[in-house]
């Protein structure tokens, strides 16, 4: 961790419930619940960049939205510089954490020019004196490498990469200390991705930003982050420095993710560590360790007892939520027998 902690997630949980109709209310039928996020805790140091990876539906975007205050968590708090945010975040607190969304096409209001969008933020938050608003907007565009004349243009006239730069500029307009990027390049063309990734890296350096990068793509996280947390079914299953995580993953799920990630350089595949099956339905989570139905080393113990996120011996910064992360299973350990479904 660079510097002291700036942001902390303390036991964040978020459940979504389905909409209830008038009839449901009268019949007192409870809504169906989906546990999107369960007891997620971590610290982010000032100036650090933390990556959060996982497959679709693992809760990473929900986590991002809880952190910026879009969703009120069902349990737990977001702690900023040692102080808890209130449930309904105050106007000035909102500025501290900003987010850049995945889809550059729908994250800008199609009815506003880029200049209008930027000036609106500056005015609402009174970031600069009213006479300076326009020139500040141009400065912001320059900050993300865009020309001033972009200000007069509507979003539809820009490419995906340009829009994503505008999104970054708008988020930075309120001068946040923490920037969350939720899949910032996954909707962009491959040749454009590097420009946005490099922009994030350089902004972080120049402005001393703290960056939380949400991605499904391990390579993006590896490129940009100091530390990485891996999520599965709403929980963090492993968190470690980037180097540790990629060189010495302890959780079987992390190992499987790494084994499955296609790479230009590794031609022979690590078949032993790849897994079968699909992620379970979030409405119907498995008992015990949520990963046990797909896990190559799971035992009976794993089907009943959920492993906590534990630190490894001698390394307080590497944590994994697996019974066998730090102590390999005993020699007489018999892996769970399972159906064809999970083997192929």
């Amino acid at each position: 961790m660079t510097g002291g902690p700036i942001l902390e997630a303390r036991g964040l949980s978020k459940a979504f419930s389905s909409r209830r109709s008038v009839g449901d209310v009268i019949l007192r039928r409870p809504a169906e619940e989906l546990q999107a996020l369960q007891d997620v805790s971590f610290l982010v140091g000032r100036g650090e960049s933390l990556g959060i990876v996982g497959e679709s539906g693992c809760g990473k975007s929900t986590l991002a939205r809880c952190l910026v205050g879009l969703y009120p968590p069902t349990a737990g708090q977001t702690v900023y510089e040692g102080k808890e945010f209130e449930q309904k975040r105050s106007f000035s607190d909102r500025k501290k954490i900003q987010i850049v969304f995945q889809d550059p096409y729908s994250s800008l209001n199609a009815r506003m020019t880029i200049g209008q969008a930027l000036r609106e933020v500056l005015r609402v938050h009174k970031v600069v004196a009213s006479g300076r608003v326009s020139s500040r907007a141009v400065e912001l565009l320059a900050l993300v490498g865009l020309d001033a004349d972009i200000a007069n243009v509507y979003p539809r006239q820009l490419s995906g990469g340009q829009r994503q730069r505008v999104n970054i500029a708008r988020a930075l307009a309120v001068e946040p200390e923490v920037l969350i990027a939720d899949e910032p390049v996954s909707a962009l063309d491959v040749s454009i991705q590097a420009t946005v990734l490099n922009l994030l890296a350089s902004l972080r350096e120049r402005l001393g930003l703290t960056l939380i990068l949400i991605a499904h793509d391990l390579s993006v996280v590896r490129y940009l982050c100091d530390r990485v947390a891996v999520m599965y079914m709403g929980r963090i299953v492993e968190i470690a420095s980037t180097e540790e995580l990629f060189e010495d993953p302890r959780h079987p799920y992390t190992q499987a993710l790494l084994a499955a990630a296609p790479s230009l350089e590794r031609k022979s595949r690590d078949d032993a560590r790849s897994i079968g099956g699909d992620p379970p339905s979030p409405f119907d989570l498995p008992s015990g360790c949520p990963f046990h139905p797909r896990c190559p080393v799971a035992s009976d113990h794993c089907t009943t007892v959920r492993p906590p996120l534990e630190e490894g011996p001698g390394d307080s910064l590497h944590q994994a939520a697996c019974h066998y992360a730090w102590a390999p299973p005993a020699p007489h350990h018999t892996p769970l027998t399972r159906g064809e479904e999970n083997l192929r």
Binding site: L70, Q98, I99, F101, S106, N109, M112, E120, A171
Partner: protein, 280 residues
Amino acid sequence: MTAVSRSASPKAARGRRSYSLVIGAGLLGVIVVLAILAPWITPYDPLAHDLESILAPLSSDHLLGTDHLGRDVWTRLLYAARLDLLIGVGAVITPFVTGTLLGAVAGYYGGRIDLAVSAATDMLFAFPYYVLIIALVFSLGPGIPSIFIAMAVVAWVSYARIVRGEVLSARGQQYVMAAKTLGYSDLRIIVRHILPNVITQPVTYAMSDIVVIIVGVVTLSYLGLGVPPPTPDWGSMIASGQSYLTTQWQLSTIPGIAVVIVGLAFSLIGDGLTHRLRPE
């Protein structure tokens, strides 16, 4: 995906639809000008009986003949246009505003407000359109003010439903989430961000709603519940001409055609607007 192959059609459509906007607006313009200039276009009084020339056929004196009281049909047609258009356009304004606002609030805030608005719209929507209108006009008594009230009570439901659905989906869009994380007030988000992006739907719906209202007024008048005679109105014209239809076909046919043409004009405008107002 098929981006390349499909980019072709929407733009082609846009060009053609502007065409339909132009035709629709032109058609409506002609009708409106004729209606406004009615006193200067025709020498007759729409109410004056002329027992000398009852049920006159089409002629240069009476372009579309006369009715059973000797009134000039062309004159009455033009004066009826004034009234029916005014009611159609006028009656759409209140439900448009109230429905859009209620729908936006219900869709944006959800929860109890939404439950209440949705329940109200569901129930009102369950009644057949004409049953509601007729029952309301029945209890309010016939006449133009009753028609206005009845239409306003019934029509807001459609706007509320449309806007609620649109706002509900906009609420999940990233531009709205972005506005929220920037700390914008709900009012600003609804008025500056969501409404400009969803207003196309209720606006184009309003065009067809005007047609529905005009047809409704005409129908009520036909049943004797709408515009009271002798005020010229297309519905009562059709009704009074019905008995002479086999001999004087134009008496009931022409006012009906007037309704259809007005309907076509507004539909064309709505169709053109759908594509003109689309942001992308």
